[in-house]
Amino acid sequence: MTSATTAHSVVEPSAATRRFAGSLVVLYAVITMIPLVWIMLTAFKSPDDAISYPPKVMFKPSLEGFCNLFTTRSRQTPDFIRSLGPPQGLCDSIARSRNMVVAGPSNYVPRFVNSLIIAFGSTVLAVALGTLSAYGFSRFRVPLKDDLLFFILSTRMMPPIAVAIPIYLMYRTVGLSDTRLGMILLYTSVNVSLAVWLLKGFIDEIPREYEEAAMIDGYTRFQAFVKVVLPQATTGIAATAIFCLIFAWNEYAFAVLLTSGNAQTAPPFIPIIIGEGGQDWPAVAAGTTLFLVPIVVFTVLLRKHLLRGITFGAVRK
């Protein structure tokens, strides 16, 4: 259908404007996608292809990066390697072609699991606490409400790393250094202010009359909250959860400072890979590519809510 055959309001953009806006969006998307595509391509290159100049766009795909990501290897003499039996699996044969043998699994999987537990754990906590406090701020006459809300927001005004040293010392004293619980609590405390503010906007939009109706219908306030407010706040909760998860998942500075052998997450681990056996860019790229997967999956699962969430509630207030 063309604009000539449909009713066309003057406030709607013309077809030409629409095409121009559309091409700008596509251009922006392409520009932001280039580093991602580059990383994914590098993950499947051999180490030589990864550093060749000019960069190769067409290359022979290799799983060496992934093998190096998941294993540790030791260098051996060709004579020793020849004395071994047949290679055990794909990674072993790749390693042998470089005069190495697979010595064992790398730390990537445990670090990745730490990341999952810490990021999802802190997201669940931050969203749960945030929803309850946002409801309280939205519905009750809280003394000093505006000051409290400002105080909560003000915790986001400085870079979190400004408090890194006090937190490091506190954590060492109470024994939370290098523990998953410590990281969950830390990320929760950073995220909860964002969660309160985002969710308060969403809950303010839900008319009180729904809860009042439910309370007259024989429900307590908490039952009304669960039955009536929560289902209507799903959009806001989903959007908030994604923001919290992305922060906790990507956080690097505190993770470097506070974790090492036990609770280390993937972000501080990935750059370490490069030190093992030369400039192993494909392994780093493979680690980064896999690191993207949970966020992509989570966002795709919640995308219906996310889109509505970002464009409504949060912005309107």
């Binding site: 008319p207 009042e212 007259i216 429900y219």
Partner: protein, 335 residues
């Protein structure tokens, strides 16, 4: 169903006094309408009875039991909100079943199903039971909102302008239906409205409320014919009562400052009346005409026979026929 008794209840929001010294008894099976302009405190009165607001002073008794401090859930009242307030994430059936499914009630699922079906039939929304509440027209939503209250048998139904957001035709239909249902069920209803037609046609008693005070309560006829003051008189009657300075007329009783003249109090003639007035405008409404007159600089609106052939600029004479008299403060003075 039960008797509801409100005794000297007051409620202020900050400096604004919403309800002051309200006393009102709604008898078992009675339909009482609270009539008043926007901001008169009608809704606050309902919310106080429902327990959504705590009174500053006074007490509320339902069925003889003092419920002043009770939570809304413990009062056994049903509320129909002005803006429907249907739960948007639930279907029509789930909306209507919501109260029956409250954890404290423990109604068996089969009974819930039967009750919702029965009420849906009563309100002609059976075919919509499995729609989402948001996929209905305004009239259907309002029926669901009423149905959500009707599935219960509470002490009292509290209705806050339930028909105000409907178009005129639908409002007329639902008005009749609501009255029929009330009679059939013998329900006790306290109904808040600013629409005099709704109050006049449905209520067994009307309470006129103004600036948080109950001015007068009585049968529709009593309120209409015997208003205690000019406020109450101005609430009822179409066109609105004309309040004219007593000085314009001769032979009014002592102490009368204002004369209230409704259409039936005014006889229009072509000369020979008490005073003469000029026709400013005639509004033809089909079955009747509104006659806008100028009486010594004062506007007067009354009904006229469309056949009278009056037009702008005509001189007419007016004669008062047992009008209402008010003193300087607006209170009624006996004729």
């Amino acid at each position: 169903m039960a008797e509801v008794e409100i005794n000297a209840v007051s409620k202020a929001f900050g400096k604004a006094q919403a309800v002051s010294g309200l006393s009102l008894t709604v008898g078992d099976g009675e339909f009482v309408a609270l009539l008043g302009p926007t901001g008169a405190g009608k809704t606050t009165a309902l919310r106080l009875i429902a327990g959504l607001e705590r009174p500053d002073c006074g007490s509320i008794r339902i069925d003889g039991r003092d419920v002043t401090g009770d939570a809304p859930a413990d009062r056994d009242v049903a509320f129909v909100f002005q803006q429907y307030s249907l739960y948007p994430h639930l279907t029509v059936f789930e909306n209507m079943a919501f109260a029956l499914r409250a954890p404290t009630r423990r109604v068996p699922e089969a009974d819930i199903r039967a009750k919702v079906q029965e009420v849906a039939r009563l309100l002609h929304i059976e075919s919509k039971l499995h729609n989402k509440a948001t996929q209905l027209s305004g009239g259907q939503m309002q029926r669901v909102a009423i149905g959500r209250a009707l599935v219960r048998s509470p002490s009292i139904y509290l209705m806050d302008e339930p028909l105000s957001s409907l178009d005129a035709k639908l409002r007329g239909e639902l008005r009749l239906e609501l009255k029929r249902i009330q009679v059939d069920l013998g329900a006790t209803i306290l109904y808040v409205t600013h629409d005099q037609t709704e109050a006049m046609t449905m209520a067994s008693r009307i309470g006129v409320i103004e600036a948080g005070r109950l001015m007068q309560i009585g049968s529709p006829r009593e309120i209409y014919e015997n208003p205690v003051n000019a406020h109450v008189a101005a609430r009822l009657g179409q066109p609105t009562i004309n309040l004219l300075p007593a000085a314009l007329f001769a032979g009014v009783p002592a102490g009368v400052e204002t004369i209230g003249a409704r259409t039936e109090h005014l006889t229009i003639g072509r000369g020979g009346g008490d005073v003469s007035a000029t026709v400013k405008r005639v509004e033809h409404l089909g079955d009747q005409s509104h006659l806008h007159l100028d009486l010594g600089g004062r506007p007067v609106v009354t009904l006229a026979d469309p056949e009278a052939g009056l037009g702008a600029g005509d001189e007419v004479s007016l004669r008062l026929n047992k009008p209402l008299f008010f003193d300087a403060k607006g209170w009624r003075v006996a004729a």
